[in-house]
């Protein structure tokens, strides 16, 4: 093992990769960008950025990454997905395009663009007691929501009307919004905690 610092990857085929890299940098972590199966093999944990879920789905299948990511998630690899990343982690989609697939790992049903068009995008602050005692800055951009939760999933964040916008199942965390575009670090910090716990449990 080369040192104790966790090897975090950011899936870098499309989306707001730079913002996730910068957020992790702010926490003292230097992640690597993952575009190939080989690069995926070099990381202990993966961040799936915001972007266009239909495109991330197509590209990860085109380059053979999709089945490998699914397998790694099933084996326990910690993974954080924001917005399109949440969509990619959902076991079920309420309204995917005809051939849209996901990696799975989070036993939830997600609805894409649940708030409407870009004019309905908004910023707010959310209470996320599992993650932090302080409010978390949340930027929703053509955001998805979690419509229903299956067994083993617990809610990390919801809006005032009860809409679920963040959930965790084991090492898999999916969030509807973008902490990374506002310099909000609390969710990534929480994710790093999940990664460290995972690594110390596997290093005996």
């Amino acid at each position: 093992m080369a040192g104790n610092s966790p090897r975090i990857g950011v899936l870098a085929l499309q989306g707001d990769v730079r913002e996730h890299v910068e957020t992790l940098n702010a926490l003292g972590v230097v992640p690597s960008e993952v575009r190939t199966i080989d690069q995926l093999g070099q990381v202990d944990a993966l961040v799936i950025p915001g972007g266009e879920s239909t495109v991330i789905d197509k590209l990860t299948r085109m380059f053979g990454l999709a089945p490998v990511i699914s397998e790694r998630i099933a084996e326990g690899m910690p993974v954080l997905g924001t917005c399109a990343g949440l969509i990619m982690l959902a076991n079920h989609l309420a309204d995917g395009t005809a051939d849209q697939q996901t990696f799975g790992g989070l036993n939830v049903t997600v609805r894409r663009n649940a708030f409407g068009a870009q004019v309905d995008s908004f910023e707010t602050e959310l209470s996320m007691p599992t993650v932090s005692q302080q409010l978390v800055a949340a930027t929703f951009i053509r955001a998805p929501v979690i419509e229903s939760l299956g067994e083993g999933v617990h809610v990390l964040a919801s809006l005032a009307d009860g809409t679920v916008v963040g959930a965790q199942q084991g090492n898999v965390i999916g969030i509807s919004f973008h902490p990374e575009v506002s310099g909000e670090t609390k969710i990534h910090e929480y994710f790093l905690g999940v990664v460290e716990a995972f690594l110390s449990s596997t290093q005996r």
Partner: protein, 298 residues
């Protein structure tokens, strides 16, 4: 518990949507069928317009915002973001596009300008705008007016990538030059770029535009698109290059593939094979000055 006050239409959500499009290809479409082909090929967004730039160039006449019916059909057909073009300075076309709930407005030199002095005051809208620029000063003037995304202009409808190359290189080299200046030199730089001092200072400090920068205008092949990415674009607009080519589905998919792995010659080579005819193209040097769209906007 949180008070959960929500803010709509702030800089963060406007610029944020463009950030989500990074590493992607935005494709010009003139019908719902084309929009579907683009989505299936992996477009990160579609741009709705009445005629692709190559046709505007060939047919001439005044080019305007698309028919709302057409835009509505495109919105109803795809789940990816839909952008649409308004004429430079035509704030009422922009009001119509906002009412239709498109996701982004392109205040575009490809259409005939509606105002030869003023651009649209983009701060007044909840919906974000993308604007064209040929150099850093023009980009910063648009950002000062509220643009949340910039695309370098290139020369639309030509299939000749040389102007796109020129503009992305120019913007990025001007940014690098600012970063090397001492603070007291930035005042003159602001004057020379005809841009607000605050934005000049911000760019000098961060070494990049405060918004996402895509490239447009003349991109016709996977290699063209990958070159724009290697020159520092965050993503690529492809206009006439796809639906004026022999096999739009294959070409669209190939360009998406090349942009995702833009530093890997193996992938770009593979993507370039067997695509059939590229759009015919016009050399920009053969275009008389009044027909150069990039010179619209100031």
């Amino acid at each position: 518990m949180s008070a959960q006050q929500s803010e709509f239409g702030g800089d963060r959500v406007k610029r944020g949507l463009a950030e989500m499009l990074k590493g992607g290809v935005i494709m010009d479409v003139v019908t719902a069928e084309q929009a579907k082909i683009a989505e299936d090929a992996g477009a990160v967004a579609v741009m709705a317009l009445e005629r692709v730039p190559a046709d505007i160039r060939a047919q001439g006449g005044v080019a305007r915002m698309s028919d709302p019916d057409l835009i509505q059909q495109i919105i109803d057909t795809v789940s990816i973001p839909v952008m649409a073009k308004a004429r430079i300075g035509h704030f009422v076309e922009a009001q119509v596009l906002e009412y239709l709930k498109v996701d982004y407005i392109d205040e575009s030199e490809v259409l005939s300008p509606a105002d030869y002095v003023n651009h649209i005051d983009k701060w007044k809208f909840t919906i974000p705008f993308v604007c064209g620029a040929t150099n850093l000063g023009e980009a910063l003037r648009r950002i000062n007016e509220g643009a949340a995304m910039i695309r370098s202009k290139g020369e639309a409808g030509t299939g000749d990538v040389s102007e796109a190359t020129k503009h992305i290189r120019k913007i990025n080299s001007e940014i690098r030059a600012l970063s090397a200046m001492s603070e007291d030199e930035l005042y003159v730089a602001a004057k020379e770029h005809q841009a607000p001092f605050a934005l000049i200072k911000e760019v000098a400090a961060t070494g990049k535009l405060p918004v996402v920068l895509f490239t447009a205008g003349g991109v016709a092949t996977p290699a063209d698109a990958a070159m724009m990415m290697q020159l520092g674009a965050d993503g690529v607009f492809v206009g006439s290059g796809i639906f004026k080519s022999g096999n739009p589905e294959a070409r669209a998919k190939a360009i998406v593939k090349a942009v995702a792995q833009y530093t890997d010659p193996a992938v770009i080579t593979e993507a370039s094979r067997g695509l059939g005819e590229a759009m015919v193209g016009i050399n920009v040097s053969d275009l008389p000055a009044p027909h150069r769209l990039a010179e619209r906007g100031w």
